[in-house]
């Protein structure tokens, strides 16, 4: 991942600040940076969202395609994740440099959604065992300034909220064969229940405390972080330790508590924001990428 070099003196400065709950940019330990969300930014997808968090920027596009359900779960659709670490974000990703990080991120996303509650996959089923919707979730990293996981998960939630899947009707012809008909009306579409889609909170252990939404400088002072994905109810769908250090069990328990608290508080304002933007409808002023 993109890293910065931090001198010893800077490290001490950052560490002491965090000890006193005052970070370099004036935030407290559990505060996020300024966040901007815009949905429906890419017209040729079924749902999209762009999220910027400090200088980190990610774009998520969702495409719905008709596929065959997995043999083990014939009455459910499924999600496919792909994370593209473009060389735009940092020169380190040039060539195949971003591949490793991309698979790491997408593998974690599969785990985050590997449960019954996150998204009602049965709603994606068209006809059991034969056809279902497959949602291809493509994540594009535009800029890296720390805390990729959180930004990606929020962008995915926003994009899923924005996703419009055309309605389909199954009609059977005389010989009993089934045919799928797509609705002609572009406004006749299905929306997803995104209430319980989890958000990821990354907690970075710096000194004896942990901080939320670490910048690259803060990340350089930390040896290990914990990724926790939290639903609006406060349940945890995925945790993972990342980084080269180890953690005390007690501090892991504290971090899980903090992650739950922060993650739970994230959902309500996010949903409100999304609904507000949606209600503006056509009047909404589009900002786009350069805004």
């Amino acid at each position: 991942m993109a890293t910065v070099q931090v001198s010893e003196a800077e490290k001490v400065y950052i560490l002491h600040g965090i000890r006193d709950d005052l970070r370099v940019d004036g935030r407290g330990c559990e505060d996020y940076r300024h966040m901007e969300i815009e949905t429906d930014v890419v017209s040729n997808t079924d749902g999209s969202a762009k999220v910027s968090l400090g200088h980190t920027a990610v774009l998520v596009g969702i495409k719905a395609e008709i596929g065959k359900p997995r043999p083990m779960v014939p009455n459910e659709g499924y999600l496919e994740f792909f994370v593209d670490c473009s060389a735009n974000a940092t020169p380190e990703f040039e060539g195949r440099g971003g591949e490793e990080l991309g698979t790491e991120l997408s593998n974690t996303l599969y785990k985050v959604f590997n449960n019954k509650q996150s998204l009602d996959l049965r709603a994606l089923c068209i006809s059991a065992g034969e056809h279902c919707w497959v949602l291809y979730v493509d994540v594009l990293l535009l800029q890296c300034d720390g805390n990729l996981y959180d930004a990606i998960s929020i962008a995915i939630k926003a994009a899923l909220f924005n996703t419009k899947i055309p309605r389909v009707h199954i009609s059977s012809d005389e010989e009993g064969g089934k045919e799928i008909e797509l609705s002609d009306d572009p406004y006749d579409c299905m929306r997803l229940q995104v209430e319980s889609v989890p958000c990821i909170v990354t907690l970075c252990k710096v000194g004896h405390r942990h901080v939320v939404d670490a910048t690259l400088q803060e990340k350089a002072c930390s040896v290990a972080s914990l990724i926790i994905s939290v639903t609006h109810k406060g349940t945890v769908t995925c945790t993972r330790k990342v980084g080269g250090g180890s953690l005390d069990p007690e501090s892991i328990f504290e971090m899980i508590e903090a992650g739950k608290r922060v993650g739970k508080a994230l959902h309500a304002p996010l949903m409100k924001l999304l609904q507000q933007e949606e209600s503006l409808g056509k009047k909404r002023q589009k900002v786009g990428f350069l805004g």
């Binding site: 083990m72 019954k116 639903t231 945890v236 080269g244 953690l247």
Partner: protein, 275 residues
């Protein structure tokens, strides 16, 4: 799909006979004793069989068997690092490679390493790295590879234990051994060191809120967690309890692993005879 010219190819598609019957996997009961006679809700790990130094070509190696789970790990190095562009040459580099033999799972796997294998390799790396004194091996790399011969559940946890044992057998300086343990939560009850059936059957069994798996990598004498991984959906308290249970499981494993290591060391350097 690009054709693989480096292997003997078979038909383009084939199906496992167990899929033809397409019987949905029967959900395992979430109460009563487990299929292998172990107890629920107790730190009842499978007895493990461990051996060090089985592979003649490797610097260090270990084999572990717990129930049907069989895997081996080899360590090569330290040798000169391949990557010269690395900015930080003061520290050694650890590489991990975890693979599943094609016949190790109920469904035949491919020879080509999938993203799941890479994910396992990464988690193995993150669990082992904190325990290895990499600063003692500047400009060199230490290679750890793990081969899963049979997947009988809790593969990652046992891979961590096996790999750390192989590292110790290779004489690589470490702060502590790393032990792994898994717990599977299934509603109100949990099973420690789940088998393959328990791992895959539980998740599709119920719609209960607490269903998921936790794997912990633990440094027992330093009381540090070097790896933590969970999926499924669990309440925070359940997760915390799961982590505690895993730590307890690791402590149960500790004397067995120590014994195996001691035996390997004795064999390599027999104590001076009294004559």
């Amino acid at each position: 799909m690009p054709t693989d010219t480096k292997r003997v190819r078979g038909p383009e598609v084939s199906q496992s006979p167990s899929l033809v019957t397409s019987k949905p996997a029967a959900a395992l009961p979430s109460s009563g004793p487990r299929a292998d006679g172990r107890q629920r809700d107790q730190v009842d790990v499978r007895p493990v069989f461990v051996r060090c130094g089985l592979v003649s070509q490797a610097k260090g190696s270990a084999y572990i068997e717990a129930g049907n789970t069989k895997l081996m790990s080899c360590v090569y190095g330290p040798r000169e690092t391949e990557r010269k562009d690395e900015t930080d040459m003061k520290c050694g580099r650890l590489t991990t490679d975890m693979r599943f033999a094609p016949f190790s799972c109920p469904e035949r796997g491919s020879w080509i390493q999938g993203s799941q294998d890479r994910d396992f390799s990464l988690m193995l790396y993150e669990s082992l790295q904190p325990a290895v004194c990499l600063h003692k091996y500047p400009r060199s790399q230490i290679e750890v590879s793990v081969m899963v011969l049979e997947n009988g559940g809790s593969v990652l946890a046992h891979a961590v234990t096996c790999a750390s044992l192989a590292l110790a057998d290779a004489g690589i300086e470490m702060y502590d051994l790393v032990l792994g343990c898994s717990v599977r939560q299934d509603g109100a009850s949990y099973v420690v060191d789940p088998t393959y059936a328990e791992e895959s059957g539980g998740s599709c069994g119920g719609s209960s809120e607490d269903a998921g798996g936790v794997t912990v990598a633990f440094l027992p004498s330093l009381n540090q967690i070097s790896g933590l991984q969970s999926d499924g959906e669990m309440a925070g308290e359940t997760l915390t309890a799961g982590v505690r249970t895993c730590i307890e499981g690791c402590y149960k494993l500790y004397p067995v692993i120590q014994q195996a290591l001691l035996k390997a060391v004795r064999k390599a350097a027999p104590p001076p005879s009294e004559s």
